[in-house]
């Protein structure tokens, strides 16, 4: 089984190839606005490295977020374009899972955090289990304030993974039980692992790759514009 993983949910863009459980090639770049210039050329490069042709791919797995809206859409559009052109299944994973799965801890409660900008963080929590992690809370958007409260009231020892640059420094200051750790971005290898498990389990069902935004578009209704007053109404 030849699988391509596409990861563009954060400032990092990455692609990776695996044959069964063996990683064959990866390519990574960190550039907040560089997803679109990177992903297809990196995929081309990775396939070249592996000595594969596009039509040998069996499936594609893509990160649907949460994260940077434009990055997520670029990744999904690329994955959709390739999967439809090749007639192969498109599988999905969420960024917070791909990040938590790459964390290493024996006992700590994992807080997987992705910066979604505008003062909000996407957060889900995970418990480590042998061979992986189990999600213990669904992804939500939190303000740094709320994240701090949750960490403080967590009776276990939290491990925060994700791009710490998005978490204001004061959130973690003085919190001695809380550790921060790697990975900094969703792991493209973890993405491959999630995809491969889905492939093995789901028998080639394609997911509908819908972005996980967690936030409605920021639109202000302009009533004056919407319902212009007609000079002909008395």
């Amino acid at each position: 089984m030849k699988l391509l993983a596409i990861e563009t949910a954060t400032a990092q863009s990455a692609v990776a190839l695996a044959e069964d459980r063996q990683v064959m090639a990866t390519a990574t770049r960190v550039d907040r606005t560089g997803h679109a210039g990177f992903v297809v050329s990196a995929t081309d490069f990775a396939l070249d490295q592996a000595g594969w042709f596009p039509d040998e791919l069996d499936a594609i797995v893509v990160d649907v977020g949460p994260g940077l809206f434009t990055g997520i859409r670029v990744g999904i559009a690329v994955a959709q374009g390739m999967a439809s052109a090749l007639g192969i299944p498109l599988l999905t994973a969420i960024s917070l899972d791909a990040q938590a799965l790459a964390a290493t801890t024996g006992h700590r409660h994992i807080y997987s955090v992705v910066d979604v900008r505008r003062g909000e963080l996407a957060v889900a929590t995970y418990r480590p289990v042998p061979g992986g992690v189990v999600r213990s809370s669904e992804p939500v958007l939190l303000t740094p304030d709320r994240l701090q409260q949750q960490l403080m009231s967590d009776p276990s020892d939290p491990l925060v993974v994700g791009d710490a640059a998005g978490i204001p420094e004061w959130v973690l200051r003085g919190q001695h039980r809380v550790k921060t750790g790697r990975p900094r971005y969703p792991s493209v290898r973890a993405l491959l692992e999630i995809g491969m498990s889905k492939l093995e389990r789901d028998n080639f069902h394609s997911d509908s790759a819908v972005p996980l935004y967690l936030r409605e578009p920021d639109v202000s209704l302009n009533w004056e514009k919407l319902n212009p007053e007609s000079p002909w109404s008395s």
Binding site: F69, R73, A85, P217, D218, L221, N222, P228, P231, W232
Partner: protein, 334 residues
């Protein structure tokens, strides 16, 4: 043999996919977001980008099925690479580039305005340089001289609002809905275009147009007429407003035609769907012995067939994009 091109256009609020064979449209489908954005009184970039990513895959399937073309027979893939809304552009461009890569086909990035400019080729065999093309839409108003295929000189453009933008703002002043162009076209149907003589702002520069003065004078006229209880019927005011916009566009375009001595006039962009503008351009051009090539309204408004036919030119010249190509939301023609 004419190449088979799969083309994408997502620069604003229409997700559009088409299959063309040379200059022949085999299918041209779109998923309009007009209703979505009408709720907000304008195009909301984030709303547009979200809608594109939802509709692009099913729409591509539809375009291929309607064309009767087997994907394996495609020769190239093309997509708009600007100008437009960056988030919207990226969806179509990324999807298209990935499609091209997966099938190992040439990929062509196309300027949206070049698409509008080439749209007449889809319907008129004798649309060829040297020509003058009027491009008028919600984002642009330009008069372009095409000396040879691929050689464009913007002779003049708007110094304030684009024609489509002017229609939107004036429609709002008249209490009509969004988008303004079709609303005014409809409201003006039985009106008298000579009922109110609004000023024609013919800017100093010979081919430049301007609409902000018109907006001010319409606002003033309506306010005063209403206060005096002498407001003419809406149809007459709408027709007069429309005539003022059309007049400016037609006069400047015909001046460019006369000065360049071209015998071919083309047009593109959503505003060219306006019935009064079409009638006036046809009348004036015909009277001067100039061949007028106005695409049918569906090919004037944003569509992907125009991107396909513009890509044809680049393909013939080997002017291809590579896998690192991306979009340029602020790109300019010429």
């Amino acid at each position: 043999m004419n190449p088979l091109i799969l083309a994408f256009e997502t620069s604003c609020d229409e997700t559009a996919v088409a299959v063309v064979r040379g200059t022949e449209v085999l299918s041209s489908v779109l998923s309009s977001q007009v209703d979505l954005h009408a709720r907000f009184g304008g195009v909301v970039p984030e709303v547009a980008a979200r809608a594109h990513v939802e509709s692009i895959r099913p729409l591509t399937h539809k375009a291929l099925v309607e064309s009767g073309v087997h994907p394996a027979d495609l020769d190239a893939v093309a997509a708009t690479n600007g100008p437009g809304l960056v988030g919207a552009l990226l969806v179509g461009h990324s999807f298209a580039k990935a499609t091209a890569w997966a099938r190992q086909l040439p990929f062509v990035g196309v300027d949206h305005m070049e698409g509008h400019l080439m749209a007449p080729r889809l319907e008129f065999e004798d649309f060829a340089p040297p020509a003058v093309v009027l491009l008028a839409s919600g984002g642009h108003s330009q008069i372009v001289h095409v000396s040879h295929w691929g050689e464009y000189r913007v002779m003049g453009e708007t110094i304030d609002d684009a024609a489509g933008e002017a229609f939107d703002k004036l429609a709002r002043l008249l209490g009509l809905g969004f988008p303004g162009g079709p609303a005014i076209d409809l409201a003006a149907e039985d009106g008298d275009p000579a009922a109110v003589a609004f000023p024609r702002a013919l800017a100093d520069r010979p081919y430049a147009v301007s609409f902000s003065g018109l907006k001010t004078s319409v606002a003033t006229f309506v306010r005063k007429a209403k206060a005096a209880g002498e407001l003419p019927p809406l149809a007459d005011v709408a027709a007069s407003v429309q005539e003022a916009i059309v007049d400016v566009l037609v006069q400047k375009t015909m001046r460019a035609v006369a000065d360049t001595g071209v015998k071919v006039l083309g047009a593109g962009g959503g505003v060219i769907a306006n019935r009064r503008l079409r009638a006036r351009l046809t009348e004036e051009a015909t009277a001067r012995g100039v061949k007028v090539c106005l695409p049918r309204p569906e090919l004037c408004t944003d569509n992907a067939a125009m991107i396909g036919v513009a890509a044809l030119l680049h393909l013939e010249r080997g002017d291809l994009s590579d896998w690192t190509a991306t979009v340029d939301p602020g790109r300019r023609l010429g």
